[in-house]
């Protein structure tokens, strides 16, 4: 089994839950990117509001609201079609890059899950693009005026993979 190993680590950052309407910023769990080369956060959102995802960099593993301390990290994202659409559920849109910012006016992706429900966002954060001194990263989610279900998992590629090149298919 290659998930949950030194080839790929897997973190449950936020289990499937119902976000309340007008959630200002819900912080998912933080991970130390100093240990990893890159991370892909799978933001599996159902139907509901237009939600925003921030990638917050912080100096400790304490979860915080975006921009309150630390910085918003640079990231790129792609998104898939709806889970119930056989043609597009495994088709990802092209990359979009989001720059780092130390404020709260930028540095996020906004997705309209009212007109495009049941899609997933895939957010990639690279360790070498993290702000210096802020190795911990967490996804935070804001919702609009409607309640919204969602789940977040992190898939992480360790910085020092020990066995993948010699044991393909391990």
């Amino acid at each position: 089994m290659w998930v949950g190993t030194q080839e790929l680590d897997f973190v449950q950052a936020c289990s499937a839950k119902d976000f309340n309407a007008n959630t200002t910023c819900f912080p998912c769990a933080a991970v130390n990117m100093g240990r990893y080369e890159s991370m892909v956060a799978i933001v599996n959102m159902g139907a509901g509001s237009t939600f925003k995802c921030y990638v917050q960099a912080h100096s400790t593993g304490t979860t915080v609201t975006p921009g309150s301390t630390g910085q918003l990290a640079a990231f790129s994202y792609r998104y898939s079609g709806a889970a119930d659409n056989a043609s597009t559920r495994d088709v990802l849109a092209d990359y979009t890059a989001v720059a780092s910012t130390d404020g709260t006016t930028g540095g996020y992706v906004s997705f309209d899950a009212t007109t495009s429900p049941n899609c997933a966002l895939y957010i990639e954060v690279k360790a070498n693009e993290m702000p210096e001194g802020y190795p911990y990263v967490m996804i935070t989610i804001s919702t609009a005026a409607q309640a919204h279900p969602g789940a977040v998992n992190y898939v992480l590629r360790p910085r020092y993979a020990q066995n993948t090149m010699l044991q393909a298919g391990s």
């Binding site: 998930v3 119902d18 819900f26 769990a29 898939s80 559920r89 789940a151």
Partner: protein, 162 residues
């Protein structure tokens, strides 16, 4: 991004729904053709609405739309502790072999199941696989994705970290 490429394919199988899976109903995820992959990891994130146990079945079918049978061999691991919403859970239990009858999912909320099926574990002629969860007597909120390792990797051995 290395997820969603020919190195590791990702498929969104089930988006969580408000209120979760209803009482005494079955959530059936979409079919994956494991014949195209060396192995597939199904990651099921069970949310806050779970109150009682549920039954999990890994179904294998002959077509992308057919109803299946639960005879596929698989292994699974479980996040060892329930995760508070803002606490990372990255500790998995030891690998265990799946059962041909129902795998009883814990009533613990906020638990993650990682389920692996290899194409060699399928019954001949039944290459389409999908997870199925039936709720016993309460609602459960379920999110599911599949991370697939292609059978014929094109570039990962020559371009590490691509």
């Amino acid at each position: 991004m290395w997820l969603g490429t020919d190195e590791l394919h990702v498929v969104l199988l089930n988006a969580p729904s408000t209120g979760g899976l209803s009482n005494s109903t079955t959530e059936t995820c979409k079919h994956i053709n494991v014949g195209r992959y060396e192995s597939v990891m199904f990651v099921l994130t069970i949310g806050t609405n779970s109150v009682t146990t549920s039954n999990f079945y890994l179904m294998e079918a002959s077509t992308a739309t057919a109803a299946g049978q639960y005879t596929a061999a698989y292994n699974y691991r479980i996040a060892s502790t329930a995760a508070a919403a803002t606490t990372a859970t990255d500790t998995l239990s030891a690998r265990a072999a799946g059962v041909s009858t129902a795998l009883v999912m814990s009533s613990t909320a906020e638990t993650m199941y990682v389920i692996e099926v290899k194409n060699t574990g399928l019954t001949e002629g039944y290459s389409f696989v999908y997870p199925s969860v039936s709720s016993a007597a309460a609602t459960r909120n379920i999110a599911a994705v599949a991370i697939c390792r292609p059978r014929y990797i094109q570039n990962s051995m020559l371009v590490p970290n691509s």
